[in-house]
C-alpha cells in the first residue's frame, strides 16, 4: 500500500495538514506520538485564533476530534517515526513500533523538544527538584524557593504557574533582557515574590537527595553565585525533532529543516516541512497550522503533476 502523503506530527500543524489533505481527498496517513504539540502542557492558551481561552489539554482534544472527524485519513497515534529512507517511487518510513509505511510524499511537522541545561546535577536531580513541566509540578513547590531558568515565553509562563505556590521565584535570564511577551513580564514584575536575574549562566544544580541550590555565573562580573532553593524549572528553548531525517534534507546550524517559505518544500523533492521543525522565524501554533496548509496545497499540485 502506497500513500500519496504521510504527515509526521500531531500538533496544530499536523492536524491542519491532515484535515486539508483529507478534504482534498489525498490518500494520506498521519503518524504521531500524541496530539496537541508543545502547547499540551500550557495551563491557558489565549492566542489560538477563534478561541478566547483554552487549556493546552482541551486544545489537544479539539484538534484530535477535528482530525478524527475526517474521512479517508489513516491515523497512527502513540507511535514515533524513527527513520525515513528514499526509495524509487518515494519513501519508506520506519517507526518505533516496528511499523513501515510507503509514501510518495512526506510532510514533516514533528515540532521540537525541550532543551536541557546540560549542567552537573540536572540529570541526577531530575524530578527531585529539577522539573520541565510547570503546570504539573508547580503545586508541589508551595512555600518553597524556586528558580526558573529562561526568560522567554515558556520561562515567564512557568513563573506565572508558580506564583500561587512558591514563596520566592528567581527568573534567570542568560542575556540582559527578557524575551517573553510584555503582558506576562508585567504580571511577574508586579509581584514582590519575583526576582529577575540577568546575565546569569547556570553552572550547576546542587543537592544530594533533592535539589538544594543552584550555582550560576554573573557573566558581567564573572562572579559565581549560589541560590538556596528547592525547585528548578528549566525553560531554555527547544531542539527541532529532525533527527530521523539526518542526511536526507538540508538543515541549518540550529538543526531546523531549511524550507522554501513560499511552498514549504525542503531541499529534497517529495519532502515538505513546516512548524517548529522548520526554519520558520516565528514558532507559533497559528503559524504552524497556516504553513502546514500551505504545504498541503503545494503537495497536491506536485501529486497532480506527477500523475499526468
Amino acid at each position: 500500500m502506497m500513500y500519496d502523503l504521510v504527515i509526521i506530527g500531531g500538533g496544530p500543524g499536523g492536524v491542519a495538514a491532515g484535515i486539508y489533505g483529507a478534504r482534498k481527498k489525498i490518500k494520506s496517513a498521519l503518524i504521531t506520538d500524541s496530539f496537541g504539540g508543545q502547547s499540551l502542557v500550557s495551563a491557558d492558551v489565549q492566542n489560538w485564533i477563534g478561541t478566547k481561552s483554552v487549556s493546552g489539554y482541551d486544545l489537544a482534544k479539539m484538534l484530535e476530534e477535528h482530525l478524527r472527524a475526517q474521512e479517508g485519513i489513516d491515523i497512527f497515534d502513540n507511535d514515533l517515526v524513527l527513520e525515513v529512507k528514499k526509495t524509487d517511487g518515494g519513501f519508506t518510513i520506519g517507526t518505533q513500533k516496528g511499523k513501515s509505511y510507503e509514501t510518495k510524499t512526506i510532510l514533516v511537522l514533528s515540532g521540537s523538544r525541550r532543551k536541557k541545561l546540560g549542567v552537573p546535577g540536572e540529570k541526577e536531580l531530575d524530578g527531585k527538584g529539577v522539573f520541565y513541566c510547570s503546570t504539573c509540578d508547580a503545586p508541589i513547590m508551595d512555600g518553597k524557593i524556586v528558580a526558573v531558568v529562561g526568560g522567554g515565553n515558556a520561562g515567564l509562563e512557568a513563573g506565572i504557574d508558580l506564583l500561587p505556590y512558591a514563596s520566592k521565584i528567581y527568573i534567570l535570564e542568560f542575556s540582559d533582557a527578557l524575551k517573553g511577551d510584555p503582558i506576562t513580564q508585567e504580571k511577574l514584575k508586579a509581584n514582590p515574590k519575583v526576582e529577575i536575574i540577568f546575565n546569569a549562566k547556570t553552572l550547576e544544580i546542587l543537592g544530594r537527595e533533592f535539589a538544594s541550590g543552584l550555582k550560576y555565573e554573573d557573566q558581567k562580573t564573572k562572579e559565581v553565585k549560589e541560590l538556596k532553593l528547592e525547585g528548578v524549572f528549566v525553560e531554555i528553548g527547544a531542539i527541532p525533532n529532525a533527527d530521523f531525517l539526518a542526511g536526507l534534507v538540508q538543515v541549518n546550524a540550529l538543526g531546523e529543516i531549511v524550507v522554501d517559505h513560499k511552498t514549504q518544500a525542503t531541499s529534497l523533492p517529495g519532502i515538505w516541512a513546516a512548524g517548529d521543525v522548520s526554519d520558520v522565524l516565528y514558532k507559533q501554533n497559528n503559524i504552524s497550522a497556516g504553513d502546514a496548509i500551505k504545504a498541503v496545497l503545494n503537495i497536491e499540485e506536485y501529486l497532480r503533476k506527477q500523475d499526468r
Partner: protein, 80 residues
C-alpha cells in the same frame, strides 16, 4: 487490583492518565498532592522523586504517563 494516582489539578499528564483509566473501566483512587501534604510525602517515599503523576498499580510504581507501561502493568495484573 488497587490503582492509585498522585496528581495535581493542573497537570495534563495526570488528566491523560485518569482519562485513560476511565476509558478502560479501571477504578482508581485519585489524591491531590497539591493540597494533601501527607499523601505528597507518601508519593515522595514511594517514587523517590517529586514529579507528578505517580501511579501505584498494586505496588508497581510508575512515574509519569506512559500508556504502554501502564497497559502492561494492568495486563500483567489481569493475568496473575
Amino acid at each position: 487490583m488497587a490503582v492509585k494516582i498522585y496528581s495535581t489539578p493542573t497537570c495534563v499528564y495526570c488528566r491523560m492518565a485518569k482519562d485513560f483509566f476511565t476509558k478502560n473501566n479501571v477504578a482508581y483512587e485519585d489524591v491531590n498532592v497539591a493540597l494533601d501534604t501527607k499523601e505528597r510525602e507518601e508519593m515522595f517515599e514511594k517514587s523517590h522523586q517529586m514529579g507528578v503523576p505517580v501511579i501505584d498499580i498494586d505496588g508497581h510504581i510508575i512515574v509519569g504517563f506512559n500508556k504502554d507501561v501502564i497497559e502492561k502493568a494492568l495486563n500483567l495484573k489481569h493475568e496473575v
